[in-house]
C-alpha cells in the first residue's frame, strides 16, 4: 500500500441553480486572454443537452479515455504509442472550434463612430477569430435551460444511448419531464488519460495533492491530450500553441483557500477536501472487467483516514499530521464513501475522476409536485424513484456506467433524509424506521443533512495548507514520479521523451544581453574563462540600477 493524498471536489447537483457564477469568475481569473477566448475551464451545462464542447461524452466519436484490450489491459482509446507515433503530426480526432464555439465580440466602435441617422447605432457581432461579421449560431452554453431542445435534444449522447439500448426508448418523453444543471471542471483523475496521451511528458500529477497540471515549458502542442481527455477539459491555446487546463486553483489551495469556482458558488453546492488513496491499487481498479464495477472499485481505492493502519502507512509515505487531520474531517470523503451519496462522472472512461456529484433528486420531486403529490412523503418519493425509470437511467448513464440500482440507492438515501428531517422540522416524532430502510442510523442521517444543507464555509472547504518546507524535495521528484502508471511498459510511461529531442526535457533558457552576445561572437581573441562572468540574467533584474555586465566595460567591445 502506498498512501497518497488527493484534493477532491463534490458538487451537490440538487443545489445548482445554473447561474454560471463559477464559470464567469473562473474565466475572469484564468482564461480572459487572447488564444483562449473559447476556453471555459469551468462550464455549466443543462442536461439533457449536448454540453460543451458539443457531444463531448460521445467517446465513439472523440475516442477519449481508456479501454481494455483483448488481454484485459488498459489501453488509450485513441490508440497506443505506435499509432501515436505514426499519426503524430495530425491529430484529427478532436473537437473543432465550431464544436466548442466560435468566440465573438461586437463592433463597439460603431456605437460612437456611426454617422448621424434616424436610428440609434448598434454593435453587430464580429468573430474574434476572423474579425468578420458573423451571426451567432452556437455559444459556450447554447442549449441553456433546454432552449432549442426540441430540435437538438436528441443529439445528447446520453439520450442517444438510452434510446438505442434501453427498454425506455419507446416512452421517450424525458426531455420534457426533467432538467438539471451539470457544472464541470477538470476531474483531476487518479488515472489521467491526458497525461498518458502526451508524447512530451508535459502533463504531470502533483505528488502532494494530485492536481493534474500542464508544464508549459515542456508542452510542444501535439494536442494528443485534447483527444485523450474524455471530458474535453484540456484546451489548446491557439496563440501560444500549448495546452492549458483547469489548475484546481492550486495557488489558492496551497494557502488553504478554496478554488475560485467554489469560493464564488452562490448555491454553496461545492465541497473541497482530501481523499487518501492507495496509489499501488489504481491500475488494478481501473482495469476491472465490467465497467459497472468501476464505481465500487474507485470507492475501494479511497482509504479510511481513521484506520490506524492507514494512518501509519500515510505517515511512512510522508503525509504530515495536519493533512491526515484534514483527511479525517474531509467533507468529500464523507459524501463519497461514508454516506455513499456522491458519484463519479462517467466512471466507464476508466480515468478514476476525482470530482464527484451528488445526483439530483429534484427531477423526481418536481414531477411529483406537478402531479399534485406530497413530494416530501417517504412513501410517495420512494415509489416515484422506482417508477421514474427515465430520469434514473439518464443519471445512471452519467454517473454509474448505466447501473440504475446504484443511482436508486443514492436517491433513496437523499429521499430518506428529506422525509426523516421533515418530521423533526415539524416537531413530530422522528421515525427511525426511515433511516433504517436505507441502511443508515439516525445520527448518520442527521450528520449528512448538516453537511448537505447547513455546512458552513470551513466545513465545506477543508483544505490543508501546503508544506513549503517540502517544496524542494517535491520539485526534485517531480520529473520521475509522475503517476501510478509510470512503471516500465505501463500505459503512462512516457518519461524519456519518446519522440526525439523535441519531446524531451526543456533546455534551460539563458538570457544574454545583446552587447555581451555580440562581443563574444565578434571578439577575435579566445574567450577567457572569466569573460562570461559579466553575463547578466535579465530575468532576475528588478529594473533598479545597472547590474554588472549589462553594458560592456569601457573600452571593451568597441568597434575596431
Amino acid at each position: 500500500m502506498r498512501v497518497m493524498a488527493q484534493v477532491g471536489m463534490v458538487m451537490n447537483l440538487d443545489k445548482c441553480i445554473g447561474c454560471h457564477t463559477c464559470s464567469v469568475t473562473c474565466k475572469q481569473a484564468w482564461t480572459n486572454r487572447a488564444g483562449v477566448e473559447y476556453v471555459w475551464f469551468n462550464n455549466v451545462e443543462t442536461r439533457p443537452g449536448q454540453g460543451y464542447p458539443r457531444r463531448y461524452d460521445d467517446q465513439d466519436t472523440w475516442r477519449g479515455g481508456w479501454t481494455l484490450d483483448r488481454k484485459g489491459r488498459l489501453r488509450l482509446k485513441a490508440g497506443g504509442r505506435v499509432k501515436k507515433l505514426l499519426t503524430l503530426f495530425s491529430s484529427p480526432v478532436q473537437p473543432k472550434l465550431a464544436d466548442y464555439y466560435e468566440p465573438w465580440t461586437y463592433d463597439y466602435e460603431n456605437l460612437v463612430n456611426a454617422p448621424l441617422g434616424d436610428d440609434f447605432p448598434v454593435a453587430r457581432p464580429k468573430s474574434l477569430i476572423t474579425g468578420e461579421d458573423t451571426k451567432v449560431t452556437w455559444s459556450a452554453n447554447w442549449d441553456d435551460n433546454l432552449g432549442g431542445a426540441t430540435e437538438m435534444g436528441h443529439l445528447d449522447p446520453v439520450i442517444e444511448k438510452i434510446r438505442r439500448e434501453s427498454e425506455e426508448r419507446i416512452a421517450f418523453e424525458f426531455e420534457q419531464t426533467f432538467m438539471f444543471y451539470l457544472p464541470r471542471i477538470c476531474e483531476h483523475c487518479l488515472n489521467p488519460s491526458c497525461m498518458a496521451s502526451c508524447p512530451s511528458g508535459a502533463i504531470y500529477k502533483r505528488l502532494e495533492d494530485g492536481i493534474v497540471l500542464v508544464d508549459q515549458d515542456r508542452c510542444r502542442g501535439w494536442r494528443q491530450c485534447v483527444t485523450g481527455c474524455p471530458y474535453k477539459k484540456i484546451y489548446f491555446n491557439h496563440k501560444t500553441g500549448k495546452a492549458e487546463k483547469c489548475t484546481l486553483c492550486y495557488p489558492r489551495l496551497e494557502v488553504g483557500q478554496p478554488t475560485v469556482c467554489s469560493e464564488t458558488c452562490v448555491g454553496r453546492l461545492r465541497y473541497l477536501g482530501l481523499f487518501l488513496y492507495d496509489a499501488d491499487a489504481v491500475t488494478a481498479a481501473a482495469t476491472v472487467a465490467d465497467e459497472r464495477d468501476l464505481y465500487e472499485a474507485q470507492l475501494d481505492l479511497l482509504l479510511d483516514p481513521t484506520d490506524p493502519a492507514v494512518v501509519a502507512a500515510a505517515r511512512r509515505d510522508g503525509i504530515q499530521d495536519d493533512w491526515l487531520d484534514a483527511a479525517r474531517r474531509s467533507p468529500v470523503y464523507a459524501l463519497a464513501k461514508t454516506y455513499r451519496v456522491a458519484l463519479p462522472l462517467h466512471p466507464e472512461y476508466r480515468t478514476m475522476p476525482m470530482v464527484w456529484y451528488v445526483p439530483p433528486l429534484s427531477p423526481v420531486v418536481d414531477l411529483l409536485r406537478e402531479q399534485g403529490h406530497d413530494a416530501e412523503d417517504r412513501g410517495t418519493l420512494f415509489g416515484a424513484i422506482d417508477a421514474l425509470r427515465i430520469p434514473v437511467s439518464y443519471l445512471a448513464e452519467l454517473f454509474t456506467a448505466g447501473d440504475a440500482d446504484v443511482v436508486v440507492g443514492v436517491l433513496q438515501r437523499l429521499a430518506a433524509m428529506r422525509a426523516y428531517l421533515r418530521d423533526i422540522t415539524l416537531g413530530r416524532d422522528p421515525d427511525d424506521a426511515i433511516p433504517a430502510s436505507v441502511g443508515m442510523d439516525p445520527e448518520q442521517v442527521y450528520a449528512m443533512y448538516r453537511l448537505l444543507a447547513l455546512a458552513k464555509y470551513d466545513e465545506r472547504y477543508v483544505i490543508p495548507v501546503a508544506h513549503a518546507e517540502d517544496a524542494r524535495a517535491l520539485d526534485a521528484t517531480a520529473d520521475e514520479a509522475r503517476c501510478s502508471l509510470d512503471y516500465d511498459e505501463g500505459p503512462g510511461m512516457y518519461a524519456s521523451g519518446a519522440f526525439g529531442e523535441a519531446s524531451g526535457r526543456p533546455v534551460p533558457v539563458a538570457v544574454e544581453t545583446f552587447h555581451a552576445l555580440k562581443q563574444r561572437q565578434s571578439s577575435e581573441g579566445f574567450v577567457e574563462p572569466g569573460a562570461t562572468s559579466g553575463r547578466v540574467n535579465l530575468l532576475n533584474w528588478d529594473g533598479v540600477g545597472v547590474p554588472h555586465g549589462l553594458f560592456p566595460e569601457h573600452g571593451q567591445g568597441e568597434p575596431t
Binding site: Y106, D119, F120, A123, N145, G148
Partner: protein
C-alpha cells in the same frame, strides 16, 4: 401571442446585459422564447430571426424554441441590450426595438394616488408598478438576411 417580459437570467435589471461573458453563455443577443407548436405555425426554427409586432411597436430578435414554453405564450426577457445585435426591422425599416417597444403603459388607479414618495408614479421610478407586462403581439418569421 401573449407577450411577456419576465426577468432575465443574464442580468440584474439592465445591468451586465452587455457583458461579453454573459452574452457568450447565452444566445449572444435579444432572444424570444417560444413553444415548438408556435414556432412550427410560423415555420421558424431555433435561432431564426423573428419580429414581434403589435400596434405599439416592433422588436427584432432571434427565436429560442423550447418545449418548456407553453403554447400561445412568448417570453422576451426584459431589458435586453438595445445596442447589441439589434438589426433593422422588416416591418418599419427602422431599428428593431427593445422589449418595451411592444408594450404600452396604461394608467391604473394606483398611479393616480400621488402626493407621497412611493405613491407617486413616474417612469422607471420606485412607485406603483406599471401594467405593461402582459400584452398581445404577433410573432412573424422574417427574412433571415438582416441589415444593421
Amino acid at each position: 401571442m401573449r407577450y411577456l417580459t419576465p426577468h432575465s437570467k443574464w442580468s440584474i435589471h439592465s445591468e451586465y446585459q452587455d457583458n461579453l461573458f454573459m452574452l457568450a453563455l447565452s444566445r449572444g443577443g435579444p432572444a424570444l422564447w417560444m413553444s415548438p407548436a408556435d414556432a412550427a405555425a410560423i415555420k421558424a426554427a431555433d435561432n431564426d430571426w423573428v419580429e414581434v409586432v403589435n400596434s405599439n411597436g416592433v422588436v427584432v430578435c432571434r427565436a429560442v424554441v423550447s418545449h418548456r414554453m407553453p403554447e400561445g405564450v412568448v417570453y422576451l426577457h426584459h431589458a435586453q441590450e438595445r445596442t447589441i445585435d439589434v438589426p433593422k426591422s422588416e416591418a418599419t425599416g427602422r431599428r428593431g426595438g427593445i422589449h418595451n417597444s411592444a408594450t404600452r403603459l396604461l394608467v391604473k388607479p394606483t398611479h393616480l394616488i400621488g402626493g407621497y414618495a412611493q405613491l407617486s408614479y413616474a417612469f422607471n421610478y420606485l412607485g406603483p408598478t406599471g401594467n405593461q407586462r402582459d400584452m398581445v403581439a404577433t410573432v412573424r418569421r422574417r427574412s433571415q438576411e438582416v441589415t444593421y
